[in-house]
Subunit: 250 residues, 2 copies
């Protein structure tokens, strides 16, 4: 009906405005602003429908977007309403996994990129890690060691977590996000590989040597160990790929 406002605001309206998009954006805006914080609860769907003056179906589609994006979490039953959470990193990791499967990225491609990314992060971590970061790394390794006898799953998860902690030690949240994405894919591959307590043990040993080098401020040594560590895991992936464990392109 009416023209496009003016020539000022460009490239917005690819999609004609849809009610659930507007509502989703509005709620997101409140979260960014801090009006809604993780732990808070949104009104129930019917209540939201009343407040926004739309039907419940529209509200549900808006909530669906927010849920997938990692802003809210829903549960049936007597809870008072959708819970505001912050699982955005998780959502990004899932998107990364989608891209990997869609693009049919090969494991050697992943290993090559992972090697460079982790080295970049480790360099930053060596420079910026605080005592608390080192402590967290130690606690992580202690947890992994504890999981080695009995709880394989715990050892596995702690070993993945180790790399996220390295990213946190870099004091740069961009690295944290990137590492979260990488570990999502690595974890996916490794879970396809099945439990391998021998690999977990070797991985943990390498982690311990990396931290030791970090504490000695020997960046080059830490990088060397990390490099062998990543290539080691990558070789495991490649062998598994050759045995056709992975259902999508090696």
């Amino acid at each position: 009906m009416h023209q496009q406002e003016s020539g000022l605001a460009i490239f917005h309206p690819i999609k004609p405005k849809r009610a659930f998009d507007e509502i989703s954006s509005e709620i997101k805006r409140l979260i960014f602003k801090g009006t809604l914080k993780p732990g808070d609860r949104l009104p129930s769907e019917t209540e939201l429908a009343n407040q926004f003056g739309v039907g419940r179906q529209t509200i549900r589609e808006a909530l669906r977007l927010l849920e997938l994006s990692g802003f809210i979490s829903m549960q049936k039953g007597g809870a008072k309403g959708p819970l505001v959470v912050d699982t955005i990193l998780n959502s990004i990791g899932n998107s990364f996994l989608d891209a990997f499967q869609m693009k049919r990225i090969r494991v050697d491609e992943l290993t090559t990129a992972r090697l460079e990314i982790e080295k970049m992060v480790l360099r930053a971590a060596c420079t910026n890690a605080t005592k608390d970061d080192i402590k967290a790394l130690h606690e992580n390794m202690a947890g992994a060691r504890k999981g080695l006898d009995g709880n394989e799953q715990q050892a596995f998860e702690e070993n993945i977590q180790f790399h996220k902690l390295l990213a946190r030690a870099s004091q740069n949240y961009v690295f944290v996000i990137v590492m979260e994405s990488i570990t999502a894919v690595v974890g996916h591959f490794r879970s396809l590989l099945g439990v391998d307590s021998e690999l977990s043990r070797r991985v943990l040993n390498e982690h311990e040597r990396i931290v030791k080098a970090m504490e000695a401020h020997d960046v080059d040594k830490a990088l060397t160990i990390l490099e062998r560590h990543i290539l080691d895991v990558g070789e495991g992936f490649k062998r598994a790929a050759n045995r056709e464990i992975f259902d999508f392109t090696i």
Copy 2:
């Protein structure tokens, strides 16, 4: 009713199974398998509802997830059904932007990380770039130069695209994904900054010098120019942040 299968598959069923989740996954699976390819069309909502034996609302929520994830695109009117597309990279970029706003990442944090990431990618690009990649870079710069007089928006977008092309030249799709995420944020900041044809001109000149160094196989020179280039843009962000252009944390 029935127990959780066995102790084998762990940590899956946090959420009770929801029909739209299952349907979304099923369609995604068909896309990964190649049964559905970009350009294909899904059946209409009512048809899907019949085939899956569920209501339209359930289908709609499943489609909403697929749309946000970048797998399908919907259009009103007489189209035959949802279109299968591949805009996953776009979706990841949007998620990154969400994380940035949620985590209140500072522009200097972004610049620091971007510097390391782009250097990493450029090194890989210098090693692996094909003739076609170089050609694409030249075409990009030609387009940017054309946009400089008159179409500021084009120059802006081409300059962003340049970095994505660098990532493609690395022949590693992981880098492409990471770069897509970074450029989403950089582009967001720069669009907040408003059109600045002087900056665009300077940026283009630096792009041209980088490519020239790449063609001369002078990696160090290319890296040096890139470094100054990124820091230059970062300074622009910082000045803008000090002038409080950005509505969220500098």
